[in-house]
């Protein structure tokens, strides 16, 4: 219910400032059309309306309707087949939502992260590809040092701050059957969606989810659990002044609180790092995804303000940008 109201609101919001006739949606043809024809029609329409990634948008939506993840993975010949009336109507409905600049992930209500397919719902933050690499980093460390961090035999726990759709925690749980995870988010929508995804993937038994704002309620975090082996986060790290220039897909549909990191983008990061020594086991690690300008600033700040935290290293993403910070608790 809430979802459809949201999409209705944004649809009207998108068109409200324009004269009615420029908001026309292409008419669903009376005669039957093939998938290819529908794709072409909508691609051109997206182009005319300045919708970003016109061809990828229509392809992703069509693939989803035909039961595939990507257009490339469809059996050949499917695209030249006629669309059933049902499918054609669905295509029109979904593409119309895309017209309002709703991200494709929200339009089809799912997306893939590493080897998982997750449900997506506005305004919960959509996982970015960089974050797939963050999970890779954590996994590498956890896989190569089995017992040293937690003490022999103990089950290791990871704590995630700002779980969103649950991408990070659920990936870790899926890849490492022996660990447990605790996920937090200040948004009730995010907590609900993470819970849904956990159940869909059958990982709910090893995951605790809490509705907590780390900025306001740090103490609540400390009393949640025993010290953990790892603290992971993709915290809001954009600079406030950069928010306004974000593309409509993000600005209109995603939770700004998941993006805005304050004047220098470090507001939430500083809070997490202050908290870290209180919730980590000795030699436990913090893994953060950050803005490329942050690593040296974080290193300086930690040296000056957090005695028990040592800056280990900066890791670059595959585009070559400094993207991940790894720190370790040293008592």
């Amino acid at each position: 219910m809430k979802h459809s109201l949201t999409s209705l609101f944004f649809l009207e919001g998108g068109c409200g400032s324009r004269a009615a006739h420029t908001c026309s949606v292409p008419v669903l043809p009376a005669a039957s059309i093939t998938a290819l024809e529908a794709l072409d029609l909508w691609k051109r329409h997206f182009e005319e309306r300045g919708v970003a990634e016109p061809d990828l948008s229509s392809q992703s939506i069509m693939a989803h309707l035909l039961g595939a993840k990507t257009i490339e993975s469809l059996e050949q010949g499917r695209l030249s087949e006629s669309l059933s009336r049902d499918k054609a109507e669905q295509m029109w409905e979904l593409c119309t939502r895309r017209l309002s600049r709703m991200p494709v992930q929200y339009v089809i209500e799912e997306w893939d992260f590493r080897d998982l397919t997750l449900k997506m719902r506005p305004p919960v933050f959509i996982p970015r590809p960089e974050t797939e690499e963050l999970v890779e980093l954590v996994l590498t460390d956890l896989q190569t040092t089995p017992e040293t961090r937690a003490g022999a035999g103990a089950q290791r726990t990871c704590l995630e701050v700002g779980c969103g759709s649950g991408a990070i925690s659920l990936s870790l749980l899926k890849s490492l059957p022996q660990i447990k995870a605790i996920a937090l988010d200040q948004s009730q929508d995010a907590v609900d969606l993470t819970r849904e995804n956990a159940f869909s993937l059958g990982l709910q038994d090893r995951l605790q989810i809490h509705h907590i704002d780390v900025m306001k309620d740090a103490d609540a975090v400390v009393s949640l659990c025993d010290p953990v082996a790892a603290l992971v986060s993709n915290p809001p790290y954009l600079f406030s002044e950069d928010m306004a220039s974000l593309e409509p897909e993000i600005l209109r549909f995603e939770d700004h609180a998941a993006l805005d990191g304050g004047d220098d983008g470090l507001k939430v990061i500083r809070q997490i790092l202050t908290l870290a020594p209180k919730i980590l086991l000795n030699h436990g690690r913090v893994y953060l995804e950050v803005d490329p300008r942050h690593p040296p600033l974080i290193q300086q700040w930690v040296e000056a303000h957090v005695e028990e935290l040592r800056y280990v290293r900066t890791q670059h993403d595959i585009t070559g940008r400094p993207r991940f910070c790894i720190l370790q608790k040293e008592k």
């Binding site: 050949q76 590809p129 585009t319």
Partner: protein
């Protein structure tokens, strides 16, 4: 009519297969032998050079055995001799089995000739002996097949998995190449199913008006490379198109497509330094991170020192696309390394199967005349519709190719060996 075809085709192995157009299901044929025709193996076995080669091998084996027993040897020399002995063991053991069987046969035959008499018991005995003679003869024939098989040096890559690529050719007007490429993709997918191999699609790029532009798949299972290595090359199609402008003209249209088969190495076979790679993604441009949302997860990897590239957009996850592209890159790098090694191994006599230059057509699929012809061996088969399902019909053609390939490899080996060692006198072993 049959004999006319026999003359026209492969002179050594008459393999004209007439498949009935009965259609459904995999048809099994019990009449024709699956691997060597008896004539083939016998033919090779009686080849003078093969005989000499065989005796050389046995001499070497005997020499090795004696040396290992009696001579004083250093550690590494002993190791080397043991290794060589193990290499020759398969041939030696079959050879010894053949010799033992021949002795048995001789015994039986002499009994048979000595026991002829009018009495009933003698007749019964003679009957039994005749049966035994037939059995032993049959066993000798089979052992000789095995012997030849054991002599053929194997390709070290035979057991590897492969990266198979299907690439449409280009013609002016019409989509015959793309349509054909799509059918070839189905062919290999069908064959993988028939052989119980794993068929994983890395890349599938359809063409604009139906058909396939290019695709890449990984096929994993038992001896995949051995079976598919001769599929690489240009395949030609001839048909009267069913739909489109050209069908009105009713001329026979020709198109081509290319198949590339690369053995897929294990991880450690190809070491790639991450510093040598440039990875291109949508996020390479612009700021990346939280400030961008996109559905473009395509990845392209460039190996800077060699310029080799690989790309993938099969998945919605960028990480998965990257892993797939790395696998493809690895296979391509391995191929170029291997290519150099293969060139170094070439001897005077080229293998008939496998050294055609890229532009030469290895096989023609004639839909108008319902016929598939492999140009390397002259093998012809009918019922193209059944063939394109990738089942037994294709498997038969491939078996035939392998026989030829093995044969040529063996003859090449024998030839080069005789050049090195010079002509020797040696008693033949034929009966």
């Amino acid at each position: 009519m049959l004999s006319h075809r026999s003359i026209r085709l492969c002179r050594l192995c008459n393999r004209v297969i007439y498949n009935s157009s009965a259609g459904r299901g995999w048809r099994t044929r019990h009449d024709a032998p699956r691997r060597y025709c008896h004539r083939d193996a016998g033919d090779l076995h009686n080849n003078e050079k093969v005989q000499r080669f065989l005796l050389q091998v046995m001499e070497e084996y005997g020499h090795l055995g004696r040396k290992l027993q009696h001579a004083r040897l250093g550690e590494s020399e002993r190791k080397e001799l043991h290794r060589r002995q193990a290499e020759l063991l398969p041939v030696a053991s079959v050879f010894q089995s053949v010799r033992a069987a021949l002795e048995e046969l001789e015994e039986v035959v002499s009994f048979l000739h000595g026991k002829v008499g009018p009495r009933e018991e003698d007749e019964q005995m003679a009957q039994l002996l005749k049966e035994e003679e037939a059995q032993i003869s049959h066993r000798i024939k089979s052992l000789r097949k095995d012997l030849i098989q054991a002599l053929v040096p194997s390709d070290p890559h035979d057991s590897s998995n492969v990266l198979l690529e299907v690439l449409s050719g280009r013609t002016t007007g019409g989509d015959i190449c793309q349509q054909f490429s799509s059918e070839m993709f189905d062919l290999y997918q069908g064959y993988a199913g028939y052989k119980n191999w794993d068929f994983e699609v890395f890349n599938y790029t359809p063409a604009e008006y139906g058909g396939l532009h290019h695709a890449a798949v990984r096929i994993a299972g038992e001896n995949v490379y051995r079976h598919l290595k001769h599929e690489g090359g240009t395949h030609r199609v001839q048909r009267i198109p069913e739909v489109g402008l050209s069908s009105r003209m009713q001329r026979i249209h020709t198109g081509t497509m290319t198949v590339v088969v690369l053995p897929q190495p294990l991880e450690f076979d190809v070491s790639i330094d991450p510093k040598d790679l440039r990875i291109d993604t949508f996020r390479s441009r612009g700021a990346g991170g939280q400030s961008v949302n996109t559905t473009d997860s395509a990845v392209r990897i460039v190996h800077l020192p060699t310029g080799t590239t690989a790309e993938c957009q099969q998945s919605r996850s960028q990480l998965q696309n990257r892993e797939t592209a790395m696998r493809v890159l690895r296979a391509r790098l391995y191929q170029s390394i291997m290519g150099k090694e293969t060139a170094q191994r070439h001897t005077a006599r080229k293998q008939q199967v496998g050294t055609r230059s890229q532009s030469e057509r290895i096989r023609t699929y004639n839909f108008s005349q319902d016929r598939v012809t492999d140009h390397r061996t002259g093998y012809v088969t009918r019922d193209i519709k059944e063939f394109m399902r990738g089942g037994e019909a294709l498997d038969d053609l491939i078996s035939n190719l392998l026989e030829h390939g093995d044969r040529e490899t063996l003859l090449e080996l024998v030839e080069s060996s005789s050049i090195l060692k010079g002509p020797e006198s040696g008693a033949g072993f034929s009966d």
